[in-house]
């Protein structure tokens, strides 16, 4: 069998360009053509590697000619249901998402060569309301159908894709429903929201569960689907969840609960004083939780996300500068405990994750506890296993052994 000839849309964005680059190096793929309406930035072009680029707006019938001329057999629509980086471009995004998909599907339907179609969708199709089950499987549908926004678009797109499937039953169609994508490279409304500093507004009285997928996993699953044989709908998300307030804290920021009615006002004030803008409707969307069941992804598609939700978020958070980092909080705790005359609880995670600082924090704790602490520390060392003394004397080693034990609090490797 000759290698695949793949068309990837949306290569000016991270996922499209990274996917094009990875597919180009894939042994089963002969040729990759990345298309987009605009020229990719140098960084995106670099990510595309050996893939070709064609400047074609998918809303233009020209795309059909590209498919025809190159004999494309696999179409990966990576830019469908992507969240626009600028929230102002909402109507533009709808145009691109829905109308672009319709045009692309029309081109695919005409084409004799297309055999595989992968259309990126989003978990937003499930909506999110308090009347929904806590975890969505692929069979469920939204109880409260989103009337606008990315969820609405994705529902429309999926309907068009189903229609395409009826007219072209010979084409394998895979529709991955991605949770919110996060990572150090992607720029989405979500990443800009968490980058707000020092306070991040959230809806008062709500603390929803978030589920995220790391950008490399999003690319990986699209690649896996493009060269695989899965057909159907599949949820894509990292394992586990994180709550919104927890995420804001982990990013080293301070959550600011605001009554949902005052969000608009706050947004305007923050924009005026140049503290960064946020979209009130997006914050409200974030206050409804949504968690996807990924059993099908793991068992039928055979893809295991490498990042859990928390790891994906921490990887993203490591690219931000924390306002209130864990070190600061720990220092306040130690000082407060000292002032009240108690020794603070040892923080295992701190010893592990912040190895160089670990020793000094302990010393501070001991110093705060007063003179007898020195003796206590020494006597405790006597009890400990041989080698621990050395470990304690050279804090860097603590971190290494801690890492080996497998409990890193934060990934700071990337």
């Amino acid at each position: 069998m000759a290698g695949l000839i793949v068309l990837v849309t949306g290569v000016t964005r991270y996922i499209g360009s990274a996917l094009a680059g990875r597919l180009a190096e894939h042994p089963m793929v002969d040729r990759v053509i990345g298309v987009d309406a605009a020229l990719p930035e140098p960084a995106a072009r670099a990510r595309m590697g050996a893939a070709d680029f064609a400047r074609v707006d998918i809303r233009n019938p020209l795309v059909a000619r590209v498919i025809e001329a190159a004999g494309v057999d696999t179409v990966v629509h990576a830019s469908a249901s992507s969240t626009p980086a600028s929230s102002a471009a909402r109507s533009m995004a709808k145009e691109m998402n829905v109308l672009g998909t319709m045009q692309l599907l029309a081109a695919c339907q005409r084409s004799e060569s297309v055999r595989h179609l992968i259309v990126r969708s989003t978990g937003a199709v499930y909506g999110a309301s308090s009347r929904d089950p806590a975890i969505f499987t692929e069979q469920m549908s939204a109880r409260s159908v989103p009337s606008s926004g990315p969820g609405r678009d994705a529902i429309d797109i999926e309907a068009y894709v189903r229609g395409f499937g009826r007219r072209r039953p010979d084409v394998r169609i895979a529709v991955p429903r991605l949770a919110d994508v996060i990572g150090p490279t992607v720029v989405t409304p979500l990443t800009r929201y968490f980058a707000l500093s020092p306070v991040v507004p959230m809806v008062l009285g709500r603390d929803a569960r978030l589920q995220l997928v790391h950008e490399t996993d999003a690319v990986g699953v699209l690649e896996h689907l493009a060269v695989g044989d899965f057909s159907g709908t599949v949820n894509v998300a990292g394992d586990g969840t994180i709550t919104l307030a927890q995420a804001i804290h982990r990013a080293g920021r301070i959550p600011l609960p605001v009554p949902s009615l005052s969000l608009d006002g706050l947004s305007r004030v923050m924009r005026t004083v140049r503290m960064g803008g946020f979209s009130p409707s997006q914050v409200k969307l974030l206050s409804a939780g949504r968690v996807l069941d990924t059993t099908r992804l793991r068992e039928r598609v055979g893809y295991l996300p490498r990042f859990t939700t928390v790891e994906a978020f921490d990887d993203f958070a490591a690219s931000l500068r924390p306002v209130l980092g864990p070190e600061t909080v720990r220092r306040v705790e130690v000082r407060l405990a000292g002032a009240l005359g108690a020794r603070p609880m040892p923080d295992v995670a701190e010893l592990v994750a912040l190895a160089p600082a670990g020793g000094s924090a302990l010393e501070a704790a001991d110093a705060d506890a007063g003179a007898p602490a020195d003796d206590a520390a020494r006597s405790d060392n006597d009890f400990s296993a041989p080698g621990d003394e050395q470990t304690y004397g050279r804090p860097r080693l603590v971190g290494i052994t801690g890492d080996a034990a497998g409990a890193p609090r934060r990934r700071r490797t990337r």
Binding site: A134, G205, G220, T241, R250, G289, R306, D366
Partner: protein, 327 residues
């Protein structure tokens, strides 16, 4: 990234376990530093007495401030539940209602079970107390995942707190998922009809919904444990219901008790009745055929059987308790 690994994730990587179960979370969370292995942290002796609880509180505050805790797919946050929700409820449980439990051995040490209980008391304090009973007085200290009405989850503050406490919406997908995860799930099939019934109808079980809980148990093959709660009816005796106000506020009822709204906030103090919670003999559901959940006759019969068991137990416990407040 070079894509030599074609079926990514199938290769060298070991599959990650699915959503962490609360049991493992509880192990990981450093909420019980008393048993924190000293080998890991050799140099810091642990305080005792009030200093220890102070240090614990500070450590808890630090974990909140840095987001250093875990929640499961349903939003269950053991660290928060143990440190914030349970302590005040424990006082209420032990000192105010002097709750006595019977038949705790009927709750399995491991594996799922569906606890079905009567519901009463104007405010769902009985649900909280049942959860404390299982969490604090069961030998394995198991968390109880309760199924609540959608009104609970759509209410600000109440919704997130319920999620953190491990509760979820009363719907079959959630119930079955929790049961197959091996969790203890509790359900109050009377719903608002039970909590909001007038004092004159105390200890008379209301209609048991449509038997959705039986379907969940049948589909997962988990046993049903009937739970009878005596004492909750007297905490806020409901002598009236201001229906227009309830409709205006979107509540299922607006309660009038001897102290509320007459005494204002003071009316929120529950009367100190004496409680008994009995966990009955488990009713197995794995003896039925695969398709039993689709057979309305089986479902109705099981529903009736559970309801009758609870009703009879209530009468027996009432006789045993004697005076509602002195016990």
């Amino acid at each position: 990234m070079p894509s030599t690994e074609v079926p990514r994730g199938n290769g060298g990587e070991t599959p990650k376990p699915p959503a962490t179960t609360p049991a493992t979370i509880a192990d990981v969370t450093p909420s019980t530093p008393a048993i924190a292995p000293a080998a890991q942290v050799p140099a810091v002796p642990i305080e005792t007495g009030w200093k220890r609880s102070l240090a614990n509180t500070l450590a808890f505050a630090r974990r909140r401030m840095t987001g250093d805790y875990q929640v499961d797919d349903f939003g269950y946050d053991p660290d928060f539940t143990d440190n914030v929700i349970v302590p005040p409820l424990k006082v209420l449980y032990e000192k105010w209602f002097r709750i006595e439990t019977i038949g705790m051995e009927n709750i399995p040490d491991t594996g799922g079970a569906l606890l079905v209980a009567n519901h009463s008391g104007t405010v769902a304090v009985d649900a909280l107390m049942t959860a404390v009973a299982v969490r604090e007085h069961h030998p394995m200290k198991r968390p109880l995942r309760m199924l609540g009405a959608d009104l609970v989850f759509s209410t600000p503050f109440l919704g997130p707190i319920n999620r953190k406490a491990g509760n979820t919406l009363a719907c079959n997908p959630d119930a079955e998922r929790l049961l197959s995860m091996g969790e203890l799930v509790s359900v109050f099939p009377e719903g608002f009809k039970g909590v909001g019934k007038p004092y004159s109808q105390r200890y008379k079980l209301q209609r048991f919904g449509r038997g959705g809980f039986v379907t969940a148990a049948l589909n997962t093959g988990m046993p049903i444990i009937p739970v009878s709660i005596v004492g909750a009816e007297e905490i806020y005796p409901l002598i009236g219901n201001i229906k227009p106000l309830a409709r205006a506020l979107g509540f299922p009822y607006f309660p009038v008790t001897p102290t509320f709204p007459l005494l204002g906030p003071l009316g929120a103090i529950p009367l100190p009745s004496k409680w008994i919670i009995e966990f009955g003999e488990p009713i197995p559901t794995d003896i039925y055929a695969e398709s039993a959940a689709d057979d309305p006759m089986v479902v109705f019969n099981l529903t009736d059987r559970v309801r009758e068991t609870i009703q009879q137990t209530l009468y027996r416990l009432l006789l045993r308790r004697g005076h509602p407040f002195l016990g």
